[in-house]
């Protein structure tokens, strides 16, 4: 389990990182919790690895009334400790184990786009976006990709060749709304067999499901929570794998969506003093 040969780049600032990516392509190394195992198992053999850990200014966690902006080098553990967003904090406790959370990054998890990962669902249910930079004709340019367009398919995000995701924005919960995240994994900290996070506000409810499609599956539940489980089961398209059958996953995600909606509604009601 040793990686094949690659050229290693360790740029010090964003323009240098983007120039390198523009010139050589290559894989971006941030927390390395997915890339390094893939390299070691020779499942990936990039000619170049661009390590952004020395790039200044990417590790920020900025909180405003509008929401939380998480920089590309902010670790799961740092974001969890910052406690800046209740749903994000809840989800991060479900991400793997402390050792992985100490290294892994929030933005890295979004770009990795594992259909069973928690953070893409959080971004999706909140309607957040990812900010992406590239080197274009001698200068740095940015674009913002909304969550709805970011998760293209299993393990595939909308970040293009030569682009670097520099931050993700998680909108704050609207006043008087509540959120919750429930999942079932085989072992504590594993990728979920299925999961659901929900936001319930005055205007309605949304749920995003994981492990049951090519990416987070977002369902607008509206005001009627009683039929939510059935609607969620209709909307998802899970697969069989060695850990669970598709039928079980479909059943399970309904149960979890119902639980998440119930808890989110309770929190929302508490926030409204109802």
């Amino acid at each position: 389990m040793k990686p094949p040969p690659f050229t290693y780049h360790a740029p010090r600032d964003l323009p240098a990182a983007l120039r390198t990516l523009a010139e050589v392509g290559g894989k971006v190394l941030a927390g390395g919790q997915s890339l390094i195992p893939m390299l070691n198992m020779r499942l990936a053999a990039p000619g170049h690895v661009v390590d952004i850990n020395r790039v200044a200014g990417l590790d920020g966690i900025e909180v405003s009334r509008a929401g939380v902006t998480v920089g590309a080098l902010a670790r799961h553990a740092d974001v969890e400790r910052a406690g800046a967003h209740p749903l994000l904090t809840w989800a991060l406790k479900l991400v793997a184990h402390p050792a992985i959370r100490n290294r892994g990054t929030v933005v890295g998890s979004l770009v990795h786009a594992d259909p069973a990962a928690e953070l893409p669902a959080v971004l999706a249910v909140l309607g957040g976006h990812v900010r992406v930079a590239r080197w274009d004709c001698g200068r740095v340019t940015f674009r913002e990709i909304p969550a709805a367009e970011f998760f293209v398919g299993p393990m595939e995000s909308a970040v293009g060749p030569g682009e670097l995701a520099v931050s993700a924005f998680f909108p704050a919960l609207e006043e008087g709304s509540g959120a919750a995240f429930h999942e079932v994994s085989r072992r504590h900290g594993d990728y979920a067999l299925a999961g659901a996070c929900a936001v319930v506000g005055v205007a309605g409810a949304r749920v995003a499901c994981i492990g049951v499609g090519g990416g987070p599956v977002v369902i607008d539940v509206g005001g009627d929570l009683s039929s939510a489980a059935a609607r969620v089961r209709d909307a998802v398209d899970p697969d069989d794998d060695i850990h669970a059958s598709a039928a079980y996953r479909r059943h399970l995600v309904g149960v979890l969506a119902e639980r998440a909606l119930r808890d989110a509604a309770r929190e929302g009601a508490a926030a409204r003093g109802a």
Partner: protein
């Protein structure tokens, strides 16, 4: 301080070293050695047509590439079949490197030696092997059909077939007894594959100095590796030494030997005149070491109104993987240990061991017992369910009574000796486990279930182990035994035995295991045998040393040896503590010297003592030095026992299964160290919960192991393991001087049976297949 350490919960002396990164494991050795890596078959079954290494020749750091063709005749021979058996009519073993046909994914085909592992793996990736794929045989059913063959010359894929039958007291066979029983049941049971999965994989490091070969291996048997390596390389035994350094777990997989790498790495070191090391990585371990457990069992049982078994007929299909290097020990153990603490009237057991194009099957902690216990305990539960009786009542009706020991089950055990239980008290054990778990006060409700499982484990199999004990002139006690350690706590337990026998503080005792330079005769560490066999050998060696020490001290003190005792390392006259001589002085006196090297040893030089002029300094029949060696060879195995119970909760919506409580009552005879025994039980239960709820080897139809990583092969974390509540019962073994029985495998054996029992209780659905996942429980609920 007292020197009565036998039975005390002494803290493990190896832990500070092992827990703070001071352990010296295989990969910590040989920093400058060349690295070996292997091209392994990506096919489950294929003919090797051609190997083209040309693409790899330019890799920087490449030293050598070897295929089977490059091996000398002796090195290239098929690996030995370690345990032949008359019923193993078609035993087959692999070649160190594939000779012609590969029979499972992961079989080694090419060996690469390079400056480091990176370069070696780069070269491996550039070697092109041309395979002609053959149709693989995957799974027991496909093997039994026999349409495709794993080995061309093994018809029906049947490696072994064995029937054992024990008639009832009235002479009737099991089938007849079942026919005439008031009640009968018939059912099928399935257990899936798992594997030992030690924290440290296998590994070999070899040094050749032009005359002598030294091999370090992460093995459970250094003495046997030594003999195998010497034989394969054609070296005289005294020129080969094998050392097991700190070993990060074995659980059975490392008792198999010689592994291909154990022959190839030393051979490469000799051929190249360079140190060579190979450290197995996890992916290699999944596909190129060994698995266990996979069985299908067809059961028929006849019983009376009390649930007493009158006849039991079990047919086992055992998946042996591609090869049988360890013989048919696993299905033999299943067949015999299935009986547990019961006397089933008439018993017939038949097993067929079949080849499949999967990783070979060799013993993994429990070694066939978990399957046998699953079979018997499911049977007990089904009888209780059928009769509407309490499950513990049915078990009690079938127990061997305490006054029936020694109890002859009428079969032949895995050591080739009669299956005679030496001692036990099963009714008392049942009483204890029921009390511990609260069986009679358990309040049943939907989604909450209680389960129980009982087992008997033959431990401490022969043929023998030895111990050497030396007291040096500094008063230190040096103990060595030939079998190896994989973290069990031998350094502590053996030191407790020596300290107790010799009357010395434990701090003065050091223990060396698994180093053929220190002790050349041994069998190995498996079958819960180290404490029983080496422990007793060490005790016997200590008794020899003690006797000699008392004899010499008696001379010095002008006392009768019978009046002497040893405490705190000082020999003294009982009742006259001032008449005393320390063991350090006794050690000096035991070794007459010409030359002193310190004040203490000066006492043993020729002008220091008033020696008897008409006697030689070393008396006839004596040897210099205060040391002794002895061996213990058990007449047959000693039978430990245990009963486990668990309370589980199942989620009505998600079908998650949670173990709320887990209780164990355990009898391994006299306890050397209850803390170590409990640790063994905790670890075993954790592995058992892995086997019951999480672990399986998933092969697809092409024979690819699709979950060959810790991402997808789910070993439980600490978060999945409940606190294990433990009770001890001590029924000493009458077979050995210390009265002890083995404990190493105990924890794992009944867990699948216990969890199945509890889930069945919670759900009201029959559980006939383990492991069970939430998804599978959901499917069972759906019908």
């Amino acid at each position: 301080m007292t020197t009565k350490l036998f039975g005390a919960p002494v803290q493990r002396r190896e832990d500070p070293r092992l827990l703070t990164g001071q352990g010296r494991y295989l990969d910590d050795l040989g920093r400058d050695a060349l690295a070996a890596a292997f091209v392994r078959s990506p096919h489950a079954h294929a003919r090797v047509r051609d190997i083209d290494v040309s693409g790899a020749l330019d890799v920087e750091g490449l030293v050598a590439i070897y295929t089977w063709e490059d091996l000398p005749e002796r090195v290239g021979r098929a690996l030995p079949l370690l345990i032949p058996h008359p019923a193993l009519t078609h035993g087959r073993t692999a070649y160190p490197l594939a000779r012609d046909v590969v029979r499972h994914v992961g079989e080694p085909v090419v060996m690469v030696v390079a400056a480091d592992r990176y370069a070696a793996e780069d070269a491996c990736a550039l070697i092109e092997v041309d395979y002609e794929p053959l149709k693989p045989v995957v799974g027991i059913e496909e093997a039994v059909q026999g349409a495709q063959l794993v080995h061309e010359d093994v018809p029906g894929n049947v490696g072994a077939h064995l029937v054992q039958e024990v008639a009832a007291a009235d002479g009737r066979g099991a089938r007849e007894a079942i026919e005439t029983s008031p009640h009968t049941l018939a059912f099928r049971l399935d257990i899936e594959r798992s594997a030992s999965m030690p924290l440290e994989g296998r590994g070999v490091y070899a040094r050749w100095d032009g005359r002598d070969l030294r091999v370090y291996s992460s093995t459970q048997t250094s003495t046997s590796v030594r003999m195998a390596v010497a034989a394969a390389l054609g070296l005289p035994l005294p020129q080969v030494e094998v050392i097991a350094p700190d070993v990060g777990g074995g659980f059975g997989v490392k008792i198999v030997h010689p592994w291909p790498e154990e022959v190839l790495v030393p051979w490469a070191a000799m051929t190249l005149g360079r140190e060579v090391k190979w450290t197995e990585d996890r992916r290699e371990h999944f596909v190129s070491s060994a698995h266990e457990r996979g069985q299908v069992q067809y059961v028929r049982v006849g019983f009376d109104d009390d649930g007493r078994v009158l006849g039991l007929d079990v047919t086992i299909l055992h998946d042996h993987g591609a090869y049988t290097p360890y013989g048919i020990i696993v299905p033999i153990v299943t067949s015999t240990q299935l009986l547990g603490p019961y006397k089933p009237g008439a018993y017939r057991v038949e097993f067929t061991a079949v080849y499949t194009n999967t990783v070979q099957v060799t013993p993994y902690r429990g070694a066939g017992r978990p399957q046998g216990v699953f079979c018997m305990e499911r049977t007990m539960d089904k009888i209780a369910r059928y009769l509407g009786k309490d499950r513990t009542e049915v078990r009690a009706a079938n127990f061997i009574r305490p006054d029936e020991f020694p109890y002859d089950q009428g079969m032949t055990f895995q050591d080739g000796r009669p299956l005679i239980y030496d001692s036990g008290n099963y009714p008392e054990m049942l009483r204890m486990i029921k009390e511990l778990i609260g069986w009679d006060t358990f309040e049943r409700r939907p989604g909450l279930g209680i389960g129980i499982g009982c087992y008997v484990e033959g431990t401490g199999v022969g043929p023998y182990e030895g111990g050497h004990v030396q007291i040096t002139s500094d008063g230190r006690v040096h103990v060595s035994t030939g079998l190896t350690s994989q973290g069990q706590g031998h350094e502590t337990a053996f030191a407790q035995i020596a300290a107790t026998e010799l009357g010395v503080p434990i701090e003065r005792v050091s223990v060396v295991t698994g180093d053929t330079r220190r002790f050349g005769y041994a069998v190995g560490t498996f079958a819960s045998r180290a404490a029983v066999v080496s422990g007793n050998a060490i005790a016997l060696a200590c008794r020899k040393v003690r006797e000699k020490a008392l004899r010499i001290a008696a001379d010095a003190l002008e006392a009768d040896p019978g009046d002497l005792d040893i405490a705190d390392g000082i020999v003294h006259v009982v009742g006259a503590p001032s008449a005393a001589v320390p063991l350090s002085t006794v050690a000096v006196l035991a070794n007459p010297l010409r030359y002193a090297f310190d004040e203490e040893t000066a006492k043993a030089t020729q002008f220091a003592t008033a020696a008897a002029p008409d006697r030689p300094p070393v008396a006839e029949g004596e040897e210099p030095g205060l040391e002794g060696r002895d061996y213990y060879s058990p007449i047959r195995s000693t039978f430990a026992a245990g009963m486990h119970a668990a309370i589980v909760e199942t989620d009505p919506d998600t079908a998650e299964i949670k173990v709320l409580r887990y209780a164990v009552v355990h009898d391994c005879g006299r306890l050397i160290n209850p803390m170590i025994v409990e640790g063994q039980i905790h670890g075993g239960v954790a592995q058992g919960i892995g086997g019951a709820l999480y672990e399986r080897m998933v092969y697809d139809q092409h024979g690819q192991l699709v979950n060959a990583s810790f991402m997808d092969f789910l070993m439980p974390y600490a978060t999945e393991i409940p606190r294990v509540e433990t009770g001890h019962l001590e029924t000493p073994s009458p077979l050995n001087p210390l009265g002890i029985k083995g404990a190493g495998e105990a924890g794992v054996i009944p867990v699948s049976a216990v969890i199945a029992s509890a889930v069945e209780d919670a759900e009201g659905i029959e559980i006939n297949r383990m492991p069970i996942s939430p998804s599978e429980l959901f499917e069972l609920r759906m019908g």
